[in-house]
Symmetry: C2
Subunit: 198 residues, 2 copies
């Protein structure tokens, strides 16, 4: 089929010296698996898909909403010191910073905190908003995004974690991000173990 291009079932049966009925289950399996495509009046053709494409299909179909963690948030006015304490208490690698209405304002990582703590300033007097990555520079994901696409963002944007958000309108009619979760390399690693392990 790779050589002949699209070919009808009757034609395949003839070449293989089999009846069309006998061939049907074979073709059904190959079509279901995605390795063959079928078009009416044209016939069967190779999709060029391999078993690893089938894996890609499974990984690409899982959504961020099925795999994310609960968000750990602080207000903008929180001190860097208290933010670091929250990180230790919740054992998270990043904190999500929200406005009074609970909308996304920024994100701060252990790396941001470590950099600041080297500066020798009084961490109790500095607000966390000084060290955070601020909107609109925050890389976000949403519950319907595929974990594949989200993982790709983590790698290409070189971040360890992203807020999971829904786009909503606030009372003033402005579009804002409502924070519903946190998606991290730990979520991917856990998913990897689940997929490989059961």
């Amino acid at each position: 089929m790779n050589r002949h291009g699209p070919i009808t079932g009757a034609h395949i049966a003839e070449k293989l010296n089999l009846s069309r009925a006998a061939l049907r289950p074979d073709l059904a399996i190959l079509t279901m698996s995605g390795m063959l495509g079928a078009r009416p009046k044209v016939g069967y053709y190779c999709t060029g898909k391999t078993p690893s494409d089938l894996i890609a299909g499974v990984l690409g179909n899982i959504r961020v909403g099925e795999a994310h963690s609960h968000p750990v948030v602080v207000k903008e006015s929180c001190s860097v010191y208290d933010a670091i304490v929250t990180m230790f208490m919740e054992d998270v690698g990043s904190l999500i910073i929200v406005s009074e209405g609970g909308y996304l304002e920024g994100i701060a990582s252990r790396k941001d905190m470590l950099k600041q703590s080297l500066g020798g300033q009084n961490l109790n007097k500095l607000p966390v908003s000084i060290v955070m990555t601020r909107m609109p520079n925050v890389i976000v994901t949403h519950p319907e995004e595929s974990v594949f696409r989200a993982a790709q963002k983590l790698i290409t944007q070189q971040v360890d974690a992203m807020p999971v958000v829904n786009l909503v309108q606030n009372d003033a009619g402005e579009e804002k991000y409502q924070v519903v979760g946190r998606f991290t390399k730990t979520n991917i690693t856990r998913l990897f173990v689940q997929l490989a392990g059961h």
Copy 2:
């Protein structure tokens, strides 16, 4: 087959009202995919494997040696301050600490550094060996371990990174770990993107 248990090719052909020759390619595909097993003189049987088992097979067959990063190491005598600077310069989340001979002594994460930097001590005067997790408490992996097993360790032991080591003998005949790499949640995430993306 699920109902009838092991069954010969002739028997299947009879039940499905097909010739044995016509059935052969079907059975070959199902056997290759791992969903059917075949035993001489007994016949075919369901292995109970599903498409997700096939995924597990692929993920379980990739070795740590194919996916790890280069190790970033410092000596035990390095100060906490210099260790943090090295972390920023190399942009890594953990440093591997080695003895004079280059053997594994410990590992220190951003979290360890952040905790220490809050203490208000002079980080230039503290050696990194004060903050590191020390052997034999370091969770390690080796190049031949499956990435599945390594990912499982990252999750259950709650670490972000592991040294990749080979067991060797030093000049005194003692068994030591030679550090050959660093395996992290970033490696898993990258692998996930590769598997799902090509």
